[in-house]
């Protein structure tokens, strides 16, 4: 036992890094080959996001703000994809904006992956539009409170927003039926709550998907100021599974057909809509390793303390 403890005491941290790499790569390989995912039990916060989009009348205009970049796409892109997919399936109109410079490209990727691929009947400018990045952080939020088109005078491709059909009934941000935010930091969900949701007097419902680092900071706003919250990749996986369960439900067949997604109920979920659920495999491996390492660390600490006490005695 002394020998094992001695090795643990002197263990080079690089072996821990290697163990973590294997704990993450192993499940990715297995799930990549078998194409299986782990089951998810959605929390109330994730269900609330799903319900917020689901409960809107068909044809509502939703504002989707993608405030993230490739650095956090691993966590947040599946949320953005799922939000756009659910909105399209429900027949909502989507106005995409971003307060992060690379957010416009993240929106383009989502539009290509979801809307152009699976909903080709939707028209740019009529059913959805990418207004791209707008510099100014909180100042943009303050402007959209009174004049949305002044903050976003053109689309990402340079088309004027003044006579855009999708924005015909939109004067200010409060005219949107829902604000769906995907946030990686500043400016993000916290600022949208502080500068827009509070200023609108709670009239603008907001749901948010955020990184793991932000989640504890945003939980106090749920369910009052933020109606639904997707915390980290776990929240993304729960939300994804909620949509997939709904899509596979035979009762949704008529709605799927009218959304143009399919001729009826989906037989199987395309792998691009299982991305977050697939990433829960490496999470399991990494967290199990973390638990083992924390336990081992405590064992070593207790053994060291006991030997020090013995030496002192």
């Amino acid at each position: 036992m002394e020998g094992v403890l001695g090795i643990l005491e002197r263990l080079d941290r690089r072996w821990v890094f290697l163990a973590m790499a294997l704990a993450v790569a192993g499940p990715i390989l297995v799930m990549g080959i078998t194409r299986k995912t782990l089951p998810e039990t959605p929390t109330d916060a994730s269900r609330a996001v799903f319900q917020a989009v689901q409960s809107l009348p068909r044809g509502s205009t939703v504002l989707l703000s993608f405030d993230f970049d490739p650095g956090s796409a691993g966590e947040l892109e599946p949320m953005g994809v799922s939000m756009a997919r659910q909105c399209a399936l429900r027949g909502h109109k989507m106005v995409f904006i971003s307060l992060w410079p690379l957010g416009g490209q993240m929106i383009d990727q989502t539009i290509k992956k979801v809307l152009r691929a699976d909903f080709p009947q939707l028209q740019d400018g009529v059913d959805y539009v990418n207004l791209g990045f707008q510099a100014g952080n909180e100042q943009v939020m303050r402007v959209v409170l009174t004049d949305f088109k002044r903050a976003f005078p053109t689309t990402k491709s340079g088309r004027a927003t003044a006579d855009l059909p999708i924005l015909s009934g939109i004067q200010r941000v409060g005219d949107f039926a829902l604000l769906a935010e995907v946030s990686a930091g500043y400016p993000g969900s916290k600022e949208w709550v502080q500068y827009v949701v509070s200023a609108s007097g709670g009239k603008l419902p907001m749901v948010s998907g955020c990184t793991g680092v932000q989640t504890p900071q945003l939980y106090p706003y749920f369910p009052g100021q933020i109606r639904g919250l997707l915390g980290a990749i776990k929240g993304a996986a729960e939300y994804e599974s909620l949509i997939n369960t709904w899509v596979l439900d035979p009762a949704s067949a008529a709605e799927m057909a009218s959304a143009g997604a399919d001729s009826g109920v989906a037989a199987a979920i395309p792998p691009k809509y299982l991305e977050a659920q697939r990433r829960m495999g490496p999470q399991l491996g990494a967290h199990l390793l973390m638990v083992v390492l924390i336990l081992l660390g405590n064992v070593v600490y207790l053994a060291q303390r006991r030997s020090q006490r013995r030496a002192a005695a």
């Binding site: 690089r14 993450v24 790569a25 510099a135 088309r159 949701v197």
Partner: protein, 340 residues
């Protein structure tokens, strides 16, 4: 690493690096190879109005290259081996290699600081700085400043669809231009002191804007959210298990808020009831820090798994979770590969 463990450890690390190199070599020589991007040629044709032509319109044609999956390339070749509609995209393929090598270079820091890591770090810093510079010019200076103060020139030569500025926005941008120039004067030592006017403006505006929003959303709204009924009757019953279970979150929130506030209240010595409440407050804080740590780990592991997925899928073609290829690498190696 301690001296007595150094030699065997280095042997293990060398073996790991060789194993990775062997996998890369195997994948390069096996099947369709690895790390390839493909593009499809799409011929575009639109009719636009043109008063200079007799018919009043003219046809504009161009070619677009759209990214497609390796499976699309395989299918196109299967249909017509001599086709040139779907081709290897050399630029994107090189991009995949660059991304993979930079990812490995960054990971190499976990072993020890080295030249590859420092090179990758320098590239990231340089690219980020250049990108922010370009963003500053094309998303702020040109559309906002140029659009307001030189609208005719900007719409004629750069951004044709910019709406006409209002007098108010022109005055605002004029003030912003003057304040910006004052800030840049910081670089001139003789008159650098004048830049504090701009700094004072920024600090004042930011503080004013933040105070109002914070009081509204974080103080008032959060205080209201804390004022919850301690008993939440379920189906009319007060002393039922369901009611107790439903009431528990509210009770915990109220206790937590009071105890945490007590912990940060230093005007009274933390003894007796105050000390007990402060200790419970510490426990709440510890649970909060633990939850924050757990969420941070989850976030970092998600980012790591995305990079590993990129290496195994996009670069090495070992796995194919998105079904973008006809056969994945592992199936090819173990001989179970099937066509989707």
């Amino acid at each position: 690493m301690s001296n007595e463990h150094r030699s065997p450890a280095i042997v293990v690390w060398v073996m790991i690096v060789l194993a990775v190199a062997a996998v890369v070599g195997l994948r390069i020589g096996l099947g369709d190879g690895m790390a390839r991007a493909y593009a499809e040629r799409v011929e575009m044709r639109v009719t636009v109005k043109d008063v200079a032509t007799p018919s009043g319109e003219r046809v504009v044609e161009w070619v677009e290259w759209r990214s497609v999956s390796p499976a699309d390339f395989s299918r196109a070749v299967r249909e017509s081996p001599s086709q040139d509609r779907v081709q290897l995209n050399h630029a994107n393929s090189v991009g995949l290699w660059v991304a993979a090598l930079l990812t490995l270079a960054i990971f190499s820091f976990l072993y020890r600081d080295n030249t590859a890591y420092r090179l990758a770090e320098a590239i990231i810093i340089g690219v980020s700085a250049a990108y922010w510079g370009v963003i500053g010019v094309w998303d702020s200076i040109v559309p906002k400043l140029g659009g307001a103060l030189a609208h005719r020139w900007t719409t004629e030569y750069i951004l044709p669809n910019l709406p006409a500025p209002t007098t108010q926005s022109q005055i605002g941008m004029g003030v912003a231009l003057v304040l910006g120039i004052l800030l840049v004067l910081r670089l001139v030592p003789a008159v650098g002191g004048i830049s504090v006017w701009t700094m004072a403006f920024i600090v004042g505006i930011t503080a004013g804007a933040k105070i109002v929003s914070h009081v509204e959303s974080d103080l008032l709204a959060q205080t209201v959210a804390t004022m919850q009924p301690l008993v939440q009757p379920v189906d009319g019953g007060v002393w039922t298990v369901a009611t107790l279970w439903a009431s528990l979150p509210n009770v915990l929130v109220v206790i937590g808020v009071l105890c945490c506030l007590t912990y940060f209240f230093f005007s009274v010595e933390h003894k007796g009831i105050v000390g007990g409440a402060a200790r419970i407050g510490i426990m709440y804080l510890m649970i909060t820090f633990g939850a924050a740590f757990g969420f941070t780990v989850m976030g970092r592991v998600a980012l790591l798994s995305q990079r590993v997925e990129f290496l195994l899928d996009d670069w090495l073609w070992l796995i194919d979770p998105l079904e973008r290829r006809l056969v994945d690498g592992v199936s090819m190696i173990v001989g179970t590969g099937g066509v989707w």
